[in-house]
């Protein structure tokens, strides 16, 4: 991978963020009176007028837009309307918890998804294959918040194996990460299966078989290595949606991360926090995408981006 490509991608990130800021800014203005987003539910007409004056909503649009961007450039995301703290810090200090949940879910989904996909590809059209394809269908079709509630009902309320909410011990992370990882595991299983099936029919696999390699040797030396690349691609491509799923999972399990906090902020009508949360999300996704690109190139020297 050329350095030029990497630099170009790095330069792209601020432009993407700028785009998101622009969309947020204009959506807020299109919604009617932006002051209502920064007022409490029972604000009077005078309160609204005061907010309009204080936040400069009476100025020309272009002036407001410039000020909005400048504030964010200075790191000023506004104060939370609910907690009277910087919205930036409210979100920032919840990032480690979200990362922890995301990593745990990723680990779980790879540990489940890859073996399920491998077995069903090698035993194609067998009963096990049909069963794992059913797992894939359900895993990809069930809404993540419903899975979470079913898990709480079964494993927390009935069997009392795991706590239903919060963070603290190792046991706390099991249910949320399984919930978040299930959809992902299904996707990984599906792609592992199709990737292996495709590679199995390549000519070099037949060559390897004809030269007398054991099935195990063929699998580990030739199939697994080549089938891994599309699977890693799909993992990388899906990481943003994993972070998106964290929004639902964190709010069901009261997980103290920033993704679920966006939902709390929406119900609190705490728009500065929503805005910072969405921005962090975008920065997060941009960094993940960049890392994924770098990892591909390290894994597969054939890939270049120029």
């Amino acid at each position: 991978m050329s350095k030029r490509y990497l630099v170009r991608r790095l330069i792209q990130i601020p432009f993407t963020i700028l785009g998101i800021l622009t969309i947020i800014f204009f959506l807020m203005r299109l919604s009617g009176d932006p002051a209502t987003l920064f007022a409490s539910q029972n604000a009077s007409v005078e309160d609204l007028a005061a907010i309009r004056e204080r936040m400069g909503f009476n100025d020309p649009l272009i002036v407001q837009y410039g000020r909005f961007l400048l504030d964010i450039l200075r790191g000023d995301f506004g104060n939370s309307l609910r907690y009277d703290q910087s919205a930036f810090w409210l979100i920032a200090r919840r990032i480690p918890a979200t990362l922890k949940l995301a990593f745990a879910s990723l680990l779980f989904s790879v540990l489940i998804g890859v073996p399920v996909g491998v077995v069903s590809a090698l035993k194609r059209d067998s009963f096990i294959d049909k069963l794992s394809m059913l797992f894939v269908l359900i895993g990809q079709g069930a809404p993540v918040f419903w899975i979470g509630i079913m898990f709480i009902m079964i494993f927390s309320l009935q069997l009392k194996w795991f706590p239903a909410s919060g963070d603290g011990s190792f046991k706390h992370i099991i249910l949320p990460s399984f919930t978040l990882g299930l959809f992902f595991a299904a996707r990984i299983a599906r792609f592992t299966r199709s990737s292996i099936i495709e590679v199995k029919h390549e000519h070099y696999i037949r060559t390897a078989q004809y030269k007398g390699l054991t099935p195990k040797g063929v699998f580990y030396k030739h199939i697994a290595k080549n089938a891994a690349i599309p699977v890693i691609t799909i993992i990388g491509l899906s990481l943003p949606s994993l972070i998106g799923g964290a929004v639902m999972v964190e709010s069901i399990f009261a997980w103290p991360g920033f993704a679920g906090f966006i939902v709390t902020a929406v119900s609190n009508r705490d728009y500065p926090v929503v805005q910072s949360g969405v921005l962090f999300m975008a920065i997060f996704v941009a960094i993940i995408n960049l890392l994924v690109d770098v990892i591909y190139c390290l894994l597969d020297p054939r890939i270049t981006y120029d």
Binding site: G19, S31, L37, F145, I234, I262, V263
Partner: protein, 285 residues
């Protein structure tokens, strides 16, 4: 690729058609139930009847799926909830489809600054996970059926635009398109008569996946209390209501989730089947 033995080919052909048919059958059954909801239900989905509250499924033949905390028939609420979900799903998919295809075709066909803007907009939209984008927009617009449709429609067009754009890009240089242009056909005519018809199979495939995603997104919003406003029945709202009774009445949350699962799985099955039919790779996973 190695040729499959003949019997396996027929078998797997049948199998893939079979799953597609199952999907179409299931989805049309649910659609029928939704459209003719009053015919299939004997109870009002909204009026409460505390005398029969929290009946488990199958306990009373009048309430096959049981009743909720207010004694409302779960089956009626499911069927009327299907109306809302299906309507939101279809309407928002249509909006994002029309918007995305129009933007994508024009950006691929004309290129230049317009293409740059659309591509940039797609990149920006894709840098936020769909559900987060939807929550951020609904936080501004406020809840309610119309706002949910607008939000989902405005947030979901990117996938359509990407497909339409790449189609238009490749087709612009095909001989018959070039000759149409050189014989003096207007851009409008070339786009509508020559390029658009060829994008239809991939667009329909994408639409069925997108429909599944819209159903889940609507349910998620209603579950979070940002979607369909109660007392109107919605599947996400029913799951949310059931949370307070998880310990004693499992069916309140479990049954609506199964309904969502069925719709999403059938839409995905149809999508997979269609994709196999046009045998094209489109960028949806």
């Amino acid at each position: 690729m190695v040729k499959k033995p003949m019997n396996r080919k027929i078998l797997s052909g049948f199998f893939s058609n079979f799953t597609g048919i199952v999907g179409i059958f299931l989805l049309s059954a649910i659609l029928l139930l939704a459209v003719f909801a009053p015919v299939f239900t004997q109870h009002d989905p909204v009026v409460s009847n505390l005398k029969v509250k929290l009946q488990p499924p199958l306990a009373d033949p009048n309430y096959v799926f049981g009743t909720d905390q207010l004694g409302r028939d779960i089956f009626s609420r499911l069927v009327f909830g299907a109306r809302v979900s299906m309507f939101v799903g279809i309407a928002s998919t249509l909006i994002s489809c029309v918007l995305g295809v129009a933007l994508g075709l024009m950006s691929g066909f004309f290129g230049g600054w317009f293409d740059n803007i659309v591509t940039y907009l797609c990149d920006v939209m894709l840098s936020i996970p769909f559900i987060v984008l939807v929550i951020a927009v609904i936080a501004i617009l406020g809840s309610g059926t119309v706002n949910v449709i607008i939000t989902l429609g405005l947030s979901g067009w990117v996938q359509f635009a990407k497909i339409a754009r790449s189609k238009a890009l490749t087709m612009r240089n095909l001989e018959y398109v070039v000759s149409a242009i050189s014989t003096g056909a207007s851009s409008k005519r070339v786009l509508f008569r020559h390029i658009l018809p060829n994008t239809v199979p991939s667009i329909i495939t994408m639409a069925s996946f997108q429909f599944a995603q819209m159903i889940i997104a609507e349910a998620s919003l209603s579950f979070l209390g940002m979607g369909i406003r109660p007392p109107a029945p919605s599947w996400g709202g029913m799951i949310s209501d059931g949370r307070s009774f998880m310990q004693t009445s499992w069916w309140l949350s479990a049954i609506p989730g199964i309904a969502i699962l069925l719709v999403v799985v059938s839409a995905n099955l149809i999508g997979d089947w269609l994709r196999e039919q046009n045998d094209k790779n489109i960028t949806s996973f």
